[in-house]
């Protein structure tokens, strides 16, 4: 895969983007008239502040950053949805302007009609879509449902259909925003397979994602944005490490966990991030309640895959707290902590979903799959 001189696919030169904030936006004539009379001071928000970089042909380019860092705005400018306030974007070659899956889906149309509509947005004529239709339906595994209206599809079915169409896109440059964050496990695996093939074929791809595992597994180069500026660009591992660090330092991931405390129960000790095989130690307390005789703690993935749960029902009356310790031999990803409480008869008296969230990071990357890591080895003789 050694190339002598990389050819640029996307050149971004010193772009700035400012948005006029909604409160000062004039959407009625009355406001417009008022604003003409008044000294109209516009409140603007700087989303991107002098970003320059080049994506080369054959790059699988990852863009990461916390919420509000400007990455989606940047992607939309590359796609031509927004125009930069200042600066220049040069695109060499054709670009599929698809940002999200299922853009333009109409819930009132049948699955079949939506395939043609979506295909047109990707640049395919009705005739070309005729040729691809069967393949799309087969990949989506939705054959019997194609004449039903899209509004009767489950969200999983919609995503499957959208993805099956999206992978038909053929262009010099493909761009995706958070595509891998939707769908169930099986669907995400299918996505990964397609993306791996893109990488193998040296397809130029720009991918915005929150998942460092995806960045590690797929990207050849990556960029981290912070407050509208480039924090780091280049090596994938460096970008992934910087991003993970910025998340640990972030105050709002702590706030996120504190806000979800159920009434009367306090859970302390959830760290935002754990390494592989770390122990999570929780202290659970209920200073103002006397009716708790048992607790249960369970862990599930953010996609609601139940990982593990256990109960403890022998709490002595008048005891006001308990400690819980668990070894996290989990694959990397984001997980939720759920809780249950039991009354004196041993029946469930309260259920609390998603009381805290944490991330598990490890270096298994894509060599493992599933939810937990069993101790294993391969022996070659």
């Amino acid at each position: 895969m050694s190339k002598s001189t990389p050819e640029p696919a996307i050149e971004i030169k010193n772009i700035h983007k400012e948005f006029i904030l909604p409160q000062s936006k004039t959407t009625s004539l009355k406001q417009a008239a008022v604003n003409i009379v008044r000294d109209n001071k516009k409140t603007t928000q700087k989303v991107l502040d002098g970003v320059s970089f080049t994506i080369n042909k054959g790059d699988f380019f990852g863009i990461v950053g916390r919420n509000g860092s400007g990455k989606s705005t940047l992607l939309k400018m590359i796609a031509g949805v927004y125009v930069p306030t200042e600066g220049e974007i040069k695109i060499h070659g054709g670009l599929t302007p698809f940002i999200e899956l299922g853009v333009g889906f109409n819930p009132e149309l049948s699955g079949r009609d939506n395939v043609y509509l979506n295909g047109a947005l990707l640049g395919y004529s009705h005739k070309e879509m005729d040729g691809m239709y069967d393949e799309i339906v087969e990949f989506a595994e939705l054959g019997p449902f194609m004449d039903q209206k899209l509004k009767n599809y489950s969200s999983g079915m919609q995503v499957r259909l959208a993805f099956s169409i999206a992978i038909k896109a053929k262009n010099d440059i493909l761009i995706f925003d958070e595509v891998l964050a939707v769908g169930d496990e099986a669907f995400q695996r299918k996505c990964m397979e397609v993306f791996r093939r893109y990488r193998k074929d040296n397809q130029t791809v720009v991918l915005v994602t929150h998942s460092m595992d995806n960045v590690n597994a797929l990207c050849t180069r990556a960029l981290m944005l912070e407050d509208g500026k480039i924090k780091h660009i280049g090596d994938v591992n460096d970008v992934a490490r910087l991003y993970s660090e910025s998340n640990i330092l972030s105050e709002d991931s702590k706030a996120k966990n504190e806000n979800k405390q159920p009434i009367g129960i306090e859970i302390q000790g959830v760290k935002p991030i754990y390494d592989k095989n770390d122990y999570m130690e929780l202290s659970i307390g209920w200073p103002d309640r006397d009716d708790i005789y048992g607790v249960g703690v369970s862990i599930s993935s953010v996609n609601d895959v139940y990982v593990f749960g256990s109960n403890f029902k022998n709490i002595k009356s008048k005891k006001k707290n308990i400690k819980y310790r668990v070894k996290l031999n989990l694959i990397s990803g984001e997980y939720k902590v759920n809780m249950a409480t039991y009354n004196s008869k041993g029946d469930i008296s309260g259920l609390m979903q998603d009381v805290a969230r944490f991330d598990v990071r490890n270096d298994y990357n894509t060599t493992v799959g599933g939810v937990t890591v069993l101790e294993h080895e391969y022996i070659t003789s």
């Binding site: 004039t26 004539l29 417009a32 949805v81 853009v103 109409n106 047109a120 947005l121």
Partner: protein, 266 residues
Amino acid sequence: MRYVTKKNRAILREMVATDFKVRYQESVLGYLWSLLRPLFMFAILYVLFTYIIPIGKDNPHYGVALLTGIVMWNFFSETTSLGASSVVNNGDLLRKISIPRYLMVLTSSISALINLAINCLVIIIFALINGVHPTFEWILVIPIVVELFVFSLGIAFLLAALTVKFRDITYIWEIFLQGGFYASAIIFPITMVPGSVRDFFYINPIVQIVQDARNFILSGSVHTDTLWNSVDSIFIKIAPFIVIVIFAVLGVWIFKKRSPYFAEDI
């Protein structure tokens, strides 16, 4: 900018098809409604102005003239009001994909154009039943329809671009259309308007379009005149065309200037 590329044609086709399917799929009579609406309006006005206030007593083909006016006006009203909200209604799409924005306006106008074509067939059938002699001048209605299309589309572009910034436009235009119906000499012949005011009516391109279309359709049966022949002042002769050019150029110019910002302004 690429205009009529293969890709844009494909999008246009699918969007027009979607428009039709979504609009009529839940109704029993379906597409027939787009015929029944103008016909019903025609029936009311016909009864009113033939038997109660007999405006049309001098014209044996008042019904044909009225129907022609209503169909032309309906096209104008549909293209401009649907066009005005077409960009805003597709806000979700615009924020996520960079397809040419003019396709939204064009989609609504083409839906209206298909309706117009079918309504024109109804006019022909009605005219023949009514005893109007078919002539070759009927073909001259085609350039009149082209003129109407250009005018309507120009205004639709202008309104669509303005509606993104000021949502009030939709309501203002609705009121404007109500008044416009009476200012376009659709239910009464233009000769009923007093001479001093008539010159102002002539500036309205819809008056010229409706009068001329009627003239061509009825040319074999009743003696009427095109606007061109019935006024003396050269200024009034060309006034409607100037108005059309002004609105078409202004509409396209403002739309083109504003369209890169639609995604963030919506």
